[in-house]
Amino acid sequence: MIEIEGLTKTFGEGPTAFTALDDVSVTIQSNEFFTLLGPSGCGKTTLLRTIAGFLDPTRGKLTLDGEDLLSKPPHHRPVNTVFQSYALFPHMTVSENIAFGLQMLKRPKAEISATVSEMLELVQMTAMADRKTAQISGGQQQRVALARALAPRPKVLLLDEPLSALDFKLRKEMQLELKRLQHETGITFVFVTHDQEEALTMSDRIAVMNAGTIRQIGGPRDIYDHPAERFVADFIGDTNFLKAQMLSTEGAGSKVRLSSGAEIMAKPAQGEPPATNGASVTLAVRPEHADLCDPNSALLAGSLKNVVYFGTDTHYHVGLESGEMFILRRQNQPGHTQNWATGDRVGLDFAPGTAQILKD
């Protein structure tokens, strides 16, 4: 279990100082696939490098299974890293790379060679054992980097955007592969990425970061279905934002009035007391949760600005009467005929309880 408390990292001093991590607190469970997700510059890599020991935080606490990590140099931490650039040693073969950590730990020779062959098998690289790292492909280098970091059996494996250099298909494969490896080894994975889809498909829990702070922590479904604030809703998946007015709190839901005057139940904001009645709030509606319908019986109405065909589904861009733009997505089913054309007046509908009220 990694416990991080009030971790702050400031680079530079005075007016040019830059706070990369601002009072970050989070607990990562053992055997968890934990993802740090955010745009570049949000502090996710800084947090990862602090756990690895390459950066000293300005303030804060960092413990692993109750043991202080900050007082230890990187080579005394039971933590290994898979680097974004892989950082394989070019003067060593694949198996020498994998053996390196174990050699530094002064493990017996027999154990090292056994672990190396086990790791080669685990990442399906046995045939390449004696190749130099420059003689294998990017995907294979990725596997070797994984095997090298897993070989010493660290308590925690840190992965710094390890898939970003791979092409689309290979990336999909490696996502499943990583998930499998995490399952088989039972090691805690801390995974850094800016790719929300990658985060959603692989993680047990995700911490969404922005500007040096953690904005929301939760499971993939949690984060997707219940974004706490505008940044999270916007960063994870596509979202439409609608202005609305809080009417009343009814049980677990809140009743709001949309710009058209229509009233509907919405999910209340995460971890906050419900907004006072009459206050103006922002709603987040996922594009796939809304549908087009007859404008006269609709929640909202507007004119169809654009229709974009995507193969699996079609995106409709609707200019609402309030001036807001709403994008909705319909799956293309066989026999589905398109009844709407650009310029038509269309209605928008979504089920009660699908819209999420956001924190301000």
Partner: protein, 311 residues
């Protein structure tokens, strides 16, 4: 025919290849001429002179003789005609090799951390550091050597300061010793060590260093197992660049050795100057060349074998 070929709008691939080959040789000709005249020519003269008889007032007599080569390693006693080893020559050879090796090692010990330091500075500062290393290199060699002399002579800066502060009562004799030659040559040739090491170090991916620490290597292990093997080409180049000119160094041992610590360069100069034995000088110069080549072959072989093992 050739006119036709030139005006041919689409010459055959063979014609084009032939023309390309011809123009390549034509372009190379000036360089080849200069190289053969300037490099091989004088060397040939030296080889020929080493098999001739010395003239009375310098120069050579055109009479074949093996004496010069014989005299490199042996000499005949002036009175008894007895043969014995040319101790003086061998001593100079030994001193040259020893001091050159020590200089190369000292330069490596000083130059490696320096190159590492510069390579780990922010990119925009590195040029400034390299400039500081290069400025002395652009200064006249004689002036730098005299500056060292000023520092270490008996009434020089170091001895004066040490005596004034009461650490010593009498000046330490540093000038005109092997020590002073060593210091002088290390100072003079240090940039030649730093430059190639820095060039390899700058290309080093410092993620690899982090990866080393991450995989439980200590600083020393990272240096030995990761940094050193990767910058080895620079170390090899630097060692050769320092060792070879040191073997033939002339100014530094002359000024800082004060005629007592002769090195090969000085010995050769003596033959062409005061002793007026040009053939012996030529033979000594060729012996130096042979020593350098043998040393290089051994060195490159040794490094190469190690390279096969872990490069």
């Amino acid at each position: 025919m050739s006119d036709m070929a030139l005006s041919d709008p689409a010459p055959s691939p063979e014609t084009r290849a032939r023309r390309e080959r011809r123009s390549r040789w034509l372009l190379l000709t000036p360089a080849l001429v200069i190289l053969s005249l300037a490099a091989s020519g004088p060397l040939l003269v030296v080889v020929i002179y080493s098999f001739l008889t010395p003239g009375d007032y310098g120069g050579v007599e055109w009479q074949f003789s093996l004496d010069p080569w014989f005299n490199v390693v042996a000499e005949r006693d002036f009175f008894t005609e007895e043969l014995k080893l040319a101790d003086a020559h061998l001593l100079v050879f030994w001193r040259s090799i020893k001091l050159s090796l020590m200089t190369a090692i000292l330069c490596l010990i000083v130059g490696f951390p320096t190159a590492y330091f510069i390579a780990t500075r922010p990119a925009h500062r590195r040029d400034m550091w390299m400039l500081l290393i290069m400025i002395p290199f652009w200064t006249n060699l004689l002036i730098r050597t005299f500056a060292i002399m000023e520092l270490i002579r008996n009434q020089g800066t170091i001895n004066t300061l040490l005596m004034a502060s009461g650490v010593i009562d009498e000046p330490i004799q540093m000038l005109y010793t092997e020590f002073s030659v060593l210091v002088g040559m290390t100072y003079v040739y240090l940039p030649l060590m730093i430059l190639p090491i820095y060039a390899s170090m700058e290309r080093l991916d410092f993620n690899l260093v982090e990866a080393g620490y991450d995989l439980y290597a200590t600083r020393l292990q990272v240096l030995r197992r990761i940094i050193f093997p990767l910058v080895k080409p620079g170390v090899v180049a630097g060692s050769i660049l320092v060792f070879v000119p040191c073997l033939g160094a002339y100014v530094t041992p002359r000024v800082l050795g004060g005629g007592k610590q002769l090195m090969l360069g000085n010995l050769i100069e003596l033959q062409f100057g005061q002793l007026r034995n040009w053939p012996l000088g030529a033979a000594l110069a060729l012996t130096l060349l042979a020593v350098v080549m043998v040393a290089l072959v051994f060195y490159v072989r040794a490094i190469g074998r190690e390279g096969e093992h872990n490069a």
